[in-house]
Amino acid sequence: MTVLSPQAFQILLSLTAGDDLHGYAIIQDVRARTADEMVLTASTLYAAIKRMVDAGLIVEVDAPETSGGAPRRCYRITRTGLATARADAERLARTVEMARDKRLLPRRT
């Protein structure tokens, strides 16, 4: 089972909705969802993207013509990517459960 880096996990989360996003949009989405907790830089993002493309979690697709000055390439989540993200999310959920058991977090009512 692959353990994703927090950045890779967030990038997959941005893509799970099924939209093809370019780098800038991913950075904005991650930033908005995490309320500025995770602010990706261009080099971190693409270093992660490169690894994820190599691992087959996402694929590169050409951007639609209309996107103007935006980057020319967009990214789309693959089946493997979706499965991996799901598996990792479950792993994280289990981790959170364990933290609750140990009273690190309050029990859910």
Binding site: H22, G23, Y24, A42, S43, T44, Y46, A47, K50
Partner: protein
């Protein structure tokens, strides 16, 4: 920034950059733009984060390089080199100081060259701007201004250069805002601001329409004047100021840093010449700038200019017979006076760095000889020759980089010294700064230097066969290298060339100082008063006012004599006019020679103590009255009356249809005075009274005092203020100061070249000393044996000195050859000294030989102190 980031990306993470470089750059650019909206701090923070994360990305993705072990090896080489440098602190320190001085000097001069000569001018498409001037048909290097009549023809006919504008410098007094202030401005026919193509920060520029006769008077002011005189008031556009007694409306403010044509200018305005001057063919006072049309080559434009000039010659032969037209890139024309000097300086410091390299190579060779064993062992246990050479090259590169860093610091100090030292008025000197380009230059210089001085020892060491060096008691196989004497010969030759150049400048400066200016220059105060405004429109009002001022100054305590003149001597050529002898009119269709003239008060010759050679001086009544008279300088008399007596001849100045005065009799000949500076041979002058040429408005007063002239400054200003508070007193200087200014460029270049040549000589001497000491050390045994066999100490030291002097003589001989050849480039900088002057060459050769002899003598003395017993016992 984004370009730098891309470069960094490509250098540090090539794989990532290949695949995602474009996207990363685009994304980073957008993120940076977002951050910029939140302010500069956010922008800086963004880039800091981006760079930090790039660094950590690179760090996380670093891959062990299996194919090449180049980088880790390099790193270990660097660390090893650093350890070695620390182990021999003495050698390291000498090397670093040498490098820091060499690279520092080069960096500083390069910053000046970059700012003054290389950077494009701050106008859009500045390379299409051309300066158009008259050239003499016999000597195209002689340039001069153009008449308004010719300008309008050119503007109409030369389609290749549009827009086109003429301009001339103007100094006008601003009144009505506190004390009257003299402003430097540019008056333009057509609109030079339209030619420059720079948008104003406020309002508009003036256009050709503003130059129509009868158009309201408008000006555009500089950012500097806007801040200084108007407190950066944004409502300044539309305000009216009085310039030269005339109300003028400010229509625009140019951006900060804008200047045209050269150094600080306070305002630009249309010239609004009266109709008769617009049509004039014989008053030459305009320089022309034009913008080359897109798609037109300079040669095509020159062709059009030539054709237009041919038409002008045909239509107005007398005014144009001797003229051609030349177009020169504006940037080049701006700095043509200083570029030769700056390049000579650059070459000089380059040579100093070369000598420094030779010395370092020698030093490292000496050190390398001591390390022959180490290298032999390395090779013996399997290091390839390439690996050994690389280790040695890395060592010198590390040394050079450290030297370069120190050199940057030294360069900063040099640069501020240079800017203060170079004479004022070098255009764009303010743009000389240690920017990225200069950093790159320093880096490249360091790298080249490092390889330069490191290659020779490295190759030599690596070439040595390991076996002999490994033998016990080995004395170093490369001890008697043939390279070292060659290096010394080379650096002595280069040093001699530099010394010769400096020597020539020193001699020519001394010659200049020894020039007799033709008048007594001590205890003279000079200043200028310009009579502007409606109160001075009439000639007699001005003459009367000038006489009133002269009387006022004469009444001051400590004043011996007072005179007024259109220009002070030495300060500049001033205005010239066609010289005509009524008895011998010039043939039709030739342009008469122009001679500088001075409009003076009768006391001029007495005040300046210009001796009368023949005839009489001017006196009251020599003006337009019964006996209009002029006095000429000896050189004018010799030029126009080479074999007859000038006195009694009648002349007039100007063109037949535009005479400065109808006729005047030459009544006296006075001694030559250097009108255009001590270094200029120009002494021609025609002197006439203010009453003869009453059109003059701008008077320079000279006051001879019994004590310190500057003590009178306040009372002089007071007298002018009492006479008319709207007039400004400007250019208050002692004559001694004017003389100093006139030789300032010569002085600066002499001092700078002498400084660097001196450094070169000291470095060359150190080189000789180093090589000699080293060879003495190697020959200690031989000396011991010679002494033991009965050689006298004097013989032994003579042997050493002879060896060294052979090299010194070879270097000096080579250097003299080089100096004769290279100093030819200095011709235009020299005064009364020819390049390759034998006396100078002999003197610097003798000086260099003496220094070399001293550098040989010290090690030679040491050689004789060798105790033969100790040496032989060691055998």
């Amino acid at each position: 920034m984004i370009r730098f980031y891309r470069l960094l990306l490509r250098l540090t993470a090539p794989a990532l950059a290949r695949r995602h470089g474009d996207e990363i750059a685009l994304t980073a650019a957008r993120l940076a733009a977002d951050a910029r909206e939140a302010g500069t701090a956010a922008w800086l923070r963004y880039w800091a984060t981006e760079l930090r994360s790039l660094a950590s990305t690179v760090w996380q993705n670093r891959q062990p390089r299996k194919a090449s072990r180049m980088l880790p090896n390099l790193w270990s080489d660097v660390r090893y080199s650093l350890r070695l440098l620390v182990r021999t602190p003495g050698v390291t320190l000498i090397a670093l100081v040498t490098l820091a001085l060499g690279i520092g000097a080069n960096t500083a001069i390069f910053s000046v060259i970059d700012g003054v000569l290389l950077k494009p001018l701050p106008y859009p498409e500045a390379d299409r701007l051309y300066l158009v001037q008259h050239t003499q048909r016999v000597d195209t290097a002689q340039t001069s201004s153009v008449s308004p009549g010719s300008f309008y023809d050119l503007q109409r006919e030369v389609r290749a250069m549009q827009p086109m504008a003429g301009f001339s410098g103007a100094a006008e007094t601003m009144t009505g805002r506190g004390d009257p202030e003299r402003l430097t401005g540019v008056r333009s026919v057509g609109s030079i601001l339209a030619v420059a193509g720079v948008q104003p920060q406020l309002g508009r520029i003036f256009t050709e329409d503003d130059d129509r006769i009868g158009a309201p008077r408008t000006i555009v002011i500089s950012d500097g004047l806007w801040r200084r005189a108007f407190g950066a008031d944004p409502g300044v556009v539309g305000q009216t100021i009085r310039l030269g007694g005339q109300p003028q409306t400010i229509v625009g403010v140019m951006p900060r840093g804008f200047t045209f044509p050269d150094t600080e200018v306070d305002f630009w305005g249309p010239a609004q010449l009266p109709a008769n001057i617009r049509a004039s063919r014989t008053e030459y006072f305009l320089l022309i700038v034009g913008r080359l049309q897109p798609g037109v080559t300079p040669a095509q434009a020159q062709g059009e200019l030539d054709a237009a000039m041919a038409r002008l010659r045909e239509r107005f032969p007398q005014a144009n017979a001797s003229f051609g037209l030349g177009a020169q890139p504006f940037a080049e024309a701006l700095v043509s006076n200083v570029s030769r000097m700056l390049w000579i300086l650059m070459t000089t410091v380059g040579c100093v760095l070369l000598i420094a390299c030779a010395n370092l190579a020698n030093l490292l060779l000496a050190k390398a000889t001591g390390r022959a064993r180490e290298m032999a062992i390395r090779q013996a246990i399997g290091a390839s020759r390439r690996r050994v050479v690389r280790q040695l090259l890395v060592e010198s590169a590390v040394l050079a980089m450290l030297g370069g860093l120190a050199g940057l610091a030294v360069g900063r100090v040099f640069l501020s010294g240079l800017v203060a030292w170079l004479p004022a008025g070098i255009p764009r000197l303010g743009e000389a700064a240690m920017d990225l380009r200069v950093l790159l230059f320093a880096f490249a210089a360091s790298l080249v230097t490092g390889v330069g001085f490191g290659l020779a020892p490295a190759v030599q060491l690596a070439r040595d066969a390991p076996a002999p060096a490994l033998r016990e008691n080995a004395r170093g196989a490369s001890g008697r290298s043939r390279l070292r004497p060659l290096l010394v010969v080379g650096e002595l030759a280069v040093a001699l060339v530099l010394l010769a150049g400096a020597g020539l400048l020193v001699r020519s400066f001394l010659r200049m100082q020894a020039v007799d200016p033709g008048f007594a220059s001590d205890r003279l105060l000079t200043f200028t008063v310009r009579m502007e405004g409606p109160g001075y429109a009439q000639n007699d009002r001005r003459v009367a006012f000038m006489q009133r001022l002269v009387q006022g100054f004469e009444a001051l305590p400590g004043v011996e004599a007072v005179a007024a003149a259109s220009y002070a001597p030495v300060a500049g050529r001033g205005t010239g006019a066609w010289f005509n002898d009524l008895a011998r009119p010039w043939p039709a269709g030739t342009t008469p020679p122009a001679v500088p003239y001075r409009v003076v008060s009768p006391g001029y010759f007495k005040t300046l103590q210009i001796p009368l050679v023949r005839g009489r001086l001017l006196r009251e009544g020599d003006g337009l009255g019964a006996t209009p008279s002029v006095v000429i300088s000896e050189s004018v008399a010799r030029r126009f009356w080479p074999s007859s007596d000038a006195i009694g001849s009648e002349i007039y100045l100007g063109a037949p249809d535009n005479k400065l005065f109808e006729r005047a009799t030459v009544v006296g000949i006075v001694k030559n005075v250097n009108v255009a500076g001590l270094g200029s041979p120009l002494t021609d002058s025609v002197y006439g009274l203010t009453t003869l040429m009453p059109f003059w408005r701008n008077f320079t007063f000279t006051v001879r005092t019994s004590g310190d002239p500057s003590a009178l400054t306040a009372s002089v200003r007071q007298i002018v203020r009492e006479a008319d508070p709207s007039l400004a007193v400007t250019g208050v200087r002692s004559m001694a100061e004017i003389m100093r200014t006139s030789v300032a460029p010569a002085r600066a270049s002499m001092l700078l070249l002498a400084l660097f040549a001196g450094i070169a000589m000291v470095m060359a001497a150190i080189g000789v000393f180093g090589v000699m000491s080293y060879s003495v050390n190697l020959r200690v045994r031989e000396m011991g044996i010679r002494l033991a066999l009965g050689a006298r100490p004097a013989e032994v030291s003579w042997m050493i000195v002879r060896d060294g002097m052979k090299q010194a003589l070879a270097g000096v001989a080579l250097g003299i050859g080089g100096a004769v050849w290279l100093t030819r480039a200095m011709g235009s900088l020299l005064f009364e000294v020819r390049p390759g002057d034998p006396l100078t060459l002999a003197a610097v050769a003798a000086a260099l030989l003496a220094v070399a002899a001293l550098a040989c003598y010290v090690p030679a003395r040491r050689a004789t102190c060798v105790d033969p017993l100790i040496v032989l016992r060691a055998e």
